[in-house]
């Protein structure tokens, strides 16, 4: 049943992104919002808006009942969860369906399977996707755990089965340390996630973060090539690109095929991302996890494939079959996205809200800026610090970085501190130019380049 009216259960730039896709499909839009987001761009652009509660997300954007009531009151027939908030909440997905509405995303079962790290790992192994050598499942028995750690070889990583977003991870360099950390990690996981279950994995040093975009309709799946997001700070991505600058063509084919196999194995419906670690030295890749939602960095894939991923996920949710064969999907050129956050790069990325002034948005060929900003907009202090994403495309990576520099020089966001200068300095760095980095590279670079950042940030 095609969707006629879509409720957006999110905020910020992704809410704007979803409204745009819906409008182009001729679908009416309902924007739910907290009291702090009354004046948001998404509220202004949507056909209707409903206030669902106080600023605190737990009382508004995470309030399942208020969101379902708003859908009923406005006659919406579908809900798009965006990313974050309720996007990977299986209970929410089930509740939306139970209320007779369409959830724009996979079903609760798929979210549950891929959301549990151990279950996801087992599903990946079953589909023939390589996983990091490890315990294969939860470790329940200390003696068995010791044996497995011995076999893998130190250092080993101890992870919480229910963890996520980089939380609940410890590294043990020796058996002595391992024996000390396991009970600690279990107690911490129990307190943080209500589940003390652990599993262990081999540590892969200097790995890259490479992820594959997939689309499925519950029967069949295709991939839209990969993104590389190795530039991270505290496990948060800051600079993303497509395709990966280092992946040999034969490895790319294997990696993307493995993502399609896993997507089809779990009968996945909608847009999803399968994340891997990639080891430059051995040219091996390992499954980490699947994100069962649209991701922040999806535009780089859109730029190299010319596929509107948000539009496709809405069409699939509305009951259409995948419109593409794998051979229809071609990549061209190189795209880079940088995150413009309301953070001060010279003060340990301290976030700070403010009122936007003197806004100048970059334009020109191959340049896109996804944002919710406008002049006079008061950025509320209650949500994350993402203000916008600058995305550039060009024929080659080198030209894309040049275009990025040109676009960054046009961008002006007055009224608060942003991460613009971080990206300006990164774009001049010889290692970044050569794509000579891994997931821990940026943190060391930030320490070594603190002075450079301060100088670049000086008015």
């Amino acid at each position: 049943m095609p969707i006629r009216k879509l409720l957006i259960a999110n905020r910020g730039e992704i809410a704007v992104r979803i409204i745009r896709a819906a409008k182009e499909l001729g679908i009416k839009t309902v924007q739910v919002h907290s009291m702090a987001d009354q004046e948001s761009l998404a509220v202004k652009l949507a056909d209707e808006a409903v206030n669902i509660g106080p600023p605190h997300a737990a009382k508004s954007y995470l309030n399942i009942e208020a969101i379902l009531n708003s859908a009923k009151a406005t006659g919406a027939d579908a809900i798009h969860p965006g990313y974050g908030f309720l996007a990977e909440n299986a209970k929410f997905a089930d509740a939306v369906v139970a209320a007779g509405l369409i959830f724009v995303g996979p079903n609760g079962h798929a979210i549950r399977t891929m959301g549990d790290k151990v279950a996801a790992r087992v599903a990946a192994e079953k589909a023939g996707v390589p996983v990091v050598q490890g315990s294969g499942g939860r470790i329940d028995d200390q003696a068995e755990a010791r044996k497995i750690a011995e076999r893998i070889g130190f250092p080993v990583m101890i992870k919480a089965a229910a963890g996520g977003g980089g939380r609940g991870i410890r590294i043990a360099a020796s058996m002595e340390e391992f024996e000390r950390l396991v009970p600690q990690a279990s107690a911490e996981a129990q307190a943080a996630f209500g589940d003390g279950g652990l599993y262990i994995e081999r540590v892969i040093n200097n790995a890259r973060h490479i992820e594959v975009q997939v689309l499925g309709d519950g029967k069949r799946a295709v991939h839209c090539f990969e993104r590389e997001c190795s530039l991270q700070r505290r496990r948060q991505k800051v600079w993303e690109e497509a395709p990966s600058p280092v992946l040999p063509e034969d490895i790319r084919a294997k990696l993307c095929a493995s993502a399609v196999e896993l997507t089809e194995a779990v009968k996945y419906s909608g847009a999803g991302t399968i994340e891997y670690l990639y080891d430059d030295a051995s040219k091996e890749f390992y499954f980490i996890e699947m994100n069962t939602r649209i991701q922040v960095e999806h535009p780089v894939t859109e730029m190299i494939t010319s596929i509107d991923l948000v539009r496709e996920m809405i069409r699939i949710a509305g009951g259409e079959s995948l419109r593409f064969k794998q051979s229809d999907i071609k990549k061209s050129g190189h795209a880079i996205e940088v995150r413009i956050n309301a953070e001060d790069p010279t003060k340990d990325f301290m976030p700070g809200p403010g009122t936007i002034s003197n806004l100048r948005i970059p334009g020109g060929v191959g340049t896109r800026f996804d944002t919710m900003l406008y002049d006079g907009y008061q950025v509320p202090p209650f949500y994350d610090s993402l203000l916008g994403k600058l995305i550039v495309w060009d024929e080659t990576r080198e030209q894309a970085i040049n275009r990025l520099q040109r676009a960054l020089s046009e961008l002006n966001v007055g009224g608060l501190k942003t991460t613009k200068t971080l990206h300006q300095v990164l774009a001049t760095d010889p290692d970044v130019r050569k794509a000579n980095f891994h997931t821990r590279w940026l943190e060391g670079w930030l320490e070594a380049n603190a002075k450079k950042l301060k100088e670049a940030d000086a008015p």
Partner: protein
């Protein structure tokens, strides 16, 4: 006249370190300069609020999980 402790930042005010933990301070407690009286969450970053005055807490003006502006009173002291 009663003294007040003002919020140093805009954001969400928390009276406890975690949802399942007790409040940092209660009404009736005597506090010293530098005591942590709460946390302000600004864009997912958590900042301790330390007392810049000493005294006995008469009442909390801001509730747990309440949105606050910079300069808004959090509690009254006597």
């Amino acid at each position: 006249m009663s003294k007040e402790i003002l919020s140093p930042l805009p954001g969400t005010f928390y009276r406890k370190p975690a949802p399942d933990k007790p409040n940092f301070k209660s009404e009736g407690d005597t506090i010293a300069v530098g005591d942590v009286i709460g946390i302000i969450e600004v864009m997912k970053s958590f900042n301790e609020v330390k007392a810049d005055k000493a005294g006995k807490i008469e009442k909390f003006v801001a509730d747990n999980e309440e949105p606050v502006m910079a300069g808004q009173p959090l509690l009254e002291l006597s």
